[in-house]
Amino acid sequence: MSATSTSVNGNGKYKVIGTRPIRPDGVDKVTGRALYGIDMNLTGMLYGQILRSPHPHARIRGIDTSKAAALEGVRAVVTAKDLPPAGADEVISLVEGTFRLTHLRSNILAGDKVLYQGHSVAAVAATSLHIAEEALRLIEVDYEILPDVVDVVAAMQEDAPLLHDDLTTQEFGEDSGKKSNIASHIQFKLGDLEKGFAESDIIVEEEFNTASVHQGYIESHNATAEWKTDGQLTVWTSTQGAFGVQKQTAGILGIPVSKVKVVPMEIGGGFGGKIPVYLAPQAALLSKLTGRAVKIVMTRTDVFQSTGPTPASYVKVKLGADKTGKLLAAEANIAFAAGAFPGSPIGAGAVCVFSCYDIPNGLVNGYDVVLNKPRSAAYRAPGSTQVNFAVETLVDEIAEKLGMDPIEIRLLNAAEEGMRRVDGAVYPRIGCRETLEQARAHEHYQTPLTGPHRGRGIATGFWMNAGLKSTVTASVNEDGTVNLMEGSTDIGGSRASIAMQFAEVLGLPAEAINPMVGDTSSVGYTELTGGSRVTFATGWAAYEAANEVKRILITKAALYWEAKVEEVRFEDGDFIHASDPEKRLSFKELASHLVDLGGPVVGTGAVDPDSGVGGSFTTCLADVEVDPETGKVKILRFTMVQDAGTAIHPSYVEGQMQGGSAQGIGWALNEEYFYSEGRMKNASFLDYRMPTCLDLPMIETVIVEVPHPQHPFGVRGVGEASIVPPPAAIANAIYDAVGVRLRDLPMRPDRIFSACLEKQAATVAT
């Protein structure tokens, strides 16, 4: 096995940061004790199930639930009429965007129309799961089938079936008043595009399409709700953000947030897909009617057909460069399939499309398009992978046409501090160039790839990362340990990385910190686990909390020595009497005296840091072998280079890079929502082909550390950017192997084989 990771600039400046302690929740997770949302079990709990539309687009003329309600063991049935009505202009503002309340409610229980196959129509609670499911068969829904559209370009046409009567195109803050499936249009412009292309010696322009792909977490969506007669609703669920669930659930149910307590259970993967609520409101309504706790867990088919895929896309890109390879002009038209309701990450797509390069002249048009697919949700660097596939393929083509090394052309144009992006923002210190340089220097790149039908590809990607609000509360125990309560649900080991930042400040071993994830009633407001923000922002909150603990402990030490506060300093983990160096107390010793030193020691960090527009860059190298007779691709070797700012727990940084790489590889080669007649036909882990461990090699990682200029430890988020470049790198590798350019994701064997056939035919013809 090859080495896994190189930490490039590891500077030895820290004691705890950069080490690899065992995660605090680890033992529970390897012994089966950890309780995930799907594991909830309450006394007297009922089981809920959701009836979902088999049709992609239909008007609901009527729903008859009487037979289902009469089935023995069925305790309640709810439909859209059990939700409060919403005004057309009521909105809920969430971190991920602003949504019309009517849209959120009708995604939970369809009102007059179903807008996608899998759209929730009714919910049942019964004494067993089997009975609940039998009851679903007894619900009669009278549908008037309407024409559907699932292709993003088709949905944009004037004659396309309209999903919403009242949807008009928004033009960045202005309502165009035009009825359309195009929910919004955004445009960025920089420099003089025409001049840029006129000065270009080489221009490439192509169209690209990417399929809807799913986040693919292994734990299905779930919610258990108990609505007590005092009006207090408790929801236990797997979520990326308990406060987001609280806000959505309260909004959808029309009750104040204070009436909803959300307990985040352990979460079995999210990747952006566990930000929206899908089940909590239905479970709550059923609980209210029955007076019992109600648990709903989606089937895997439901997960695919009813929850957030990332948008399918149409991307057209034109690039111009001079003879030296300097990019002079760039134009992109991007359409994202938002699904049944507006809200795709089109803004992010439009920002990310040219974000890796210094291009003086640019124009980007982005469109958020509704169509008859499930409402899309965020997926790891949402919007960036789709556009990166197009640009990084074309940059490769320019390099090839100019006879340039693919890394050299990227270095020549690499984004740097002070560069203005097409959206107008100017970069602070970033690590784009460094990831390219490390990739170039890597043994992988330096080792020639030999053998027939083999090829190497490279691509560079970007994700902007988020800051947002986080709270951490720390309480010192008399044995010198610290209980640390945080609001960020832990999907990938973040308890460890937050505890380590806390420990670093106080010179404690990581093991002395006992981190816990609180519910919405026990911890301060904290935004979602997403946007690569937890180690960055919640870590920052931990840093602030640790500093407060330090300040308080200094006063306690002063009290202990009956000295003045100014006489005590903190050094190397010890509290020291400045004028009497004999008086020295370790954290643990001081903690043991706290019983006699007045009030408890509690520190809080509550932050809302600006993340900056810098974000994180990745560069990856992919070696592939293509079977020319079948078009099947085997990944021979894969290396991911990422700027982590500072790697707090390198193992989990590598883990993010490897996981993102694997998802990117799946997106590149085989994953897709396969539609026929408006219906997804492959809604299972059998036919939605996520990579197995036989499909992947070891994923080598190089952590680059270009510290974030503002973060106290220099942390940048690392969660997302690794998913971005793999599809383009693999496309470029396939070209290197067999000489065909793939423009559509996934690059399925049949597509590669067809492209090879066409190339052969073209060669013969000439």
Binding site: E140, V141, E629, T630, N670, S676, K681, S684, L686, R689
Partner: protein, 313 residues
């Protein structure tokens, strides 16, 4: 009015469970029922299909306690008796079978993952009668026969005549597949099964091809050949003419290409989520060639690793 039909994975409908210990008892249970009892062997297809609502039943008859269905015995003159309830892992765990019927191992060791192979049976794979079943082409190539017991006695049917349509077969009410009989293999013979899937494991065959060949003593020409195909028609196909073409022919690129083209000509695949028809048609040729060459090399005593040898079980 369109009632909300359910295309979802559900828990199971209710049914009775029986685990008979004699064939007679099993037949009585299956024959006596009104609403279609279902036979449970490994359950890796049945349980999923009941959950999905593709099948329904009021009784599940578990045949794993029937001694006749658990036989796994080889005799050089009689061949192999493969009980219908014998899971894949027992087949590839048997060294004699690995050595004697490498083509069967090729198929038995690629169905699902290890945990599926711990349960799944070749008999169940046949009775599920999916066009894409991995074991059926190689059973056809090996000239396997089905031993079927029913209310009126037992009968034997060539495996290529067993499947009648997707998910349908010749089993009548009350009948059970007890075992498969594979004739003994000739000297200078070899067999090979392979399939095409987009991933490297866990997929359903996009196309599968199995071949059995007997060569002359020098290994230069074909004495006979049989070819079976998966996922290219409503049932697994016996490419009889393609195999017959090879009889007496020299082993060469040309003869094997001709057989592959003949196999391709009878394929009539569909386009679905797993692959487009045209691509499947192309794959038939590629895989038939590869299966024949693999079989030839084994017939010549060359080492062509099967999934067990390649992956170390």
């Amino acid at each position: 009015m369109v009632i909300g039909d359910i295309e979802r994975k559900l828990r199971l409908q209710n049914f009775e469970y029986s685990a008979p210990v004699t064939v007679k008892e099993a037949i009585d249970l299956l024959a006596g029922d009104n609403c279609g009892a279902r036979i449970l062997a490994g359950g890796t297809d049945l349980i999923v299909q009941l959950r999905q609502g593709h099948l329904s039943t009021d009784r599940v008859v578990d045949i794993k306690r029937l001694p006749d269905c658990n036989k796994l015995s080889y005799d050089p003159s009689e061949g192999l008796i493969l009980g219908a309830a014998v899971p894949c892992h027992r087949i590839y765990g048997d060294e004699t079978i690995v050595k004697t019927y490498p083509g069967l191992i090729d198929a038995a060791a690629i169905i699902g993952g290890i945990q599926i192979q711990g349960r799944a049976t070749v008999g169940g794979n046949l009775c599920n009668s999916s066009p894409s079943a991995d074991t059926i082409p190689i059973l056809i190539a090996y000239r396997a026969e089905c031993e079927i017991a029913g209310p009126t006695g037992t009968r034997k049917v060539p495996v290529e005549d067993f499947c009648t349509a997707p998910g349908k077969n010749i089993l009548q009410k009350g009948e059970i597949l007890l075992a498969l009989h594979l004739p003994s293999v000739a000297k200078s013979s070899g067999a090979h099964y392979l399939r095409f899937i987009p991933r490297f494991e866990m997929d359903i065959a996009v196309v599968g091809a199995g071949a059995y060949v007997e060569l002359d003593e020098e290994g230069r020409s074909f004495k006979k050949a049989r070819i079976g195909l998966a996922a290219v028609a409503p049932t697994p196909l016996f490419a009889r003419e393609a195999g017959d073409l090879l009889q007496g022919k020299e082993v060469s690129e040309a003869s094997i290409d001709a057989a592959a083209l003949a196999a391709q000509s009878i394929a009539r695949p569909i386009s679905d989520m797993r692959a487009p028809a045209e691509y499947r048609k192309h794959l038939v040729k590629v895989l038939t060639k590869r299966a024949l060459w693999g079989a030839v090399r084994r017939a010549r005593g060359e080492f062509v690793p099967n999934a067990v040898q390649e992956n170390g079980r």
